[in-house]
Subunit: 270 residues, 2 copies
């Protein structure tokens, strides 16, 4: 495997990619053989596959542009084009002189990229968490449907309250498939870290790549009164998030009920 250039002769000079153009003439119709479209896109898609299957640990770099170019049988610039695309898709991060790394989760990324709630004073801080419960149970019909797991499959549910500015501000319920996160359900409450995505990544090899959030206004119910100190029926913000991995598999359901008296959701439209 490796060479993307299709069914040409395997006489690659190894040090200098041949000055080919495209596979197949301009008249040909199908061109389905080894992958169609621009070379750089084929390279990109192959790299996405490899990253998705966890081939490159976040601690050490991907093969260099030169190595990848040799492996795929294309020019270094073509690999570079693909890697640039991966960079703007937030899949990898590159450091001149050091190498290219799979973009890992950490406090920074979780705070700025995946956490959009900002205190009234404008300060962006990651809240402290107080875990209420960690339980293992069977998925509801809705949960199984959105997580794309068999009905009645086991899931792990984490409930927690997050404090912002010494105030209980967010009541959060997190649901993940038990199959993907073995032993997570047995984790003691005190051992659940604040930045869960980092845990998913470091302990279970699951990298959260994108998320979709649905935001509505709700009236405070019993739990909201208990844990957030809201009046019954007071307006609160409900954020329902579905988080996905690289290949689009939904792996986490998260509903956050927020007291927006001292808190707001911020969204940038670029």
């Amino acid at each position: 495997m490796a060479d993307l250039r299709g069914n040409r002769a395997p006489d690659r000079p190894a040090s200098r990619p041949p000055a080919r153009r495209r596979d197949g003439g301009p008249a040909g119709g199908g061109e389905i053989s080894p992958g169609s479209g621009p070379l750089y896109r084929q390279v990109k898609e192959q790299l996405v596959r490899e990253i998705a299957q966890g081939r490159y640990p976040v601690t050490d770099p991907l093969p260099s542009e030169q190595k990848l170019a040799a492996r795929f049988g294309v020019a270094q610039g073509t690999v570079r084009r693909a890697l640039d695309d991966l960079t703007r898709d937030n899949l990898v991060i590159r450091h001149q002189g050091r190498g290219t790394f799979v973009h890992a989760h950490g406090p920074e990324r979780d705070r700025f990229h995946f956490f959009h709630l900002v205190a009234a004073d404008g300060e962006r801080r990651l809240p402290a968490s107080r875990v209420l419960s960690v339980t293992r149970r069977r998925a509801s019909q809705d949960e199984a449907l959105t997580l794309e797991i068999p009905p009645q499959d086991r899931i792990v549910e984490i409930r927690r309250v997050r404090d912002l500015m010494a105030r209980s501000a967010i009541l959060e319920t997190i649901v993940v498939p038990d199959a993907l996160f073995p032993d997570l359900g047995s984790l003691p409450k005190t051992q659940v870290p604040n930045t869960l995505y980092q845990l998913y990544q470091d302990r279970f090899g699951v990298i959260i790549h994108r998320a979709v959030e649905k935001i509505t206004a709700q009236a405070a119910g019993r739990d909201d009164v208990t844990y957030l100190g809201l009046d019954r029926g007071a307006p609160l913000l409900l954020i329902e998030r579905i988080a996905q991995t690289l290949d689009g598999t939904p792996v986490e359901l998260r509903s956050s009920r927020c007291d927006t008296r001292h808190l707001a959701y911020f969204s940038d439209i670029l």
Copy 2:
């Protein structure tokens, strides 16, 4: 003006850019003269300036890569790098064989890029608008501050109700500086179009480029009861948007009060 290559000799062959590397030797210190940083970034910044000042009407294309390369005295690939950046910043849109155009507003872009409210059934539709009033008045202190205009300056306020699925769903108040939008305040209610950003662009040459939205939950007040048919105190979503032009000048304040019983705000985190 034009040539970005600094204070070199003006002996450019016009058809073939010289094979230079950088201005100044590696030992030199300052290098402040014509602009620092990579060439492609200088080209990009120059293009942003020209686009921001409305030099290229949205109807016809920018100069071709070759022309720009000749004008700036760089290679075509360098201009291309700059234009690619502008593409991913949503400033321009490119069509192979046709040309490069300033990315214009229209129903499509307004619907998918700047309108994040989606009906419960998942359908994405731009709502119909019913304009309540168009008035000219003096800016409040807050409004003047966020719009960065002199206090007490004149502004135009548009109030309207937007219907989604034959239901009054959004109560919207829009505030823009009168100075930037002459005669907008005199527009009859029936003449206010649905997609305002297209109007800003086509009639006033103001291109909205990015926006920041702050979302909170609120209790329904008197107006909400009147126009949205909500019960007093019922929870609703308040979206406060500040829209900016290319150069970051805030030009529009928009507050949308949404009945989220049949509507939700969607946010994609990529």
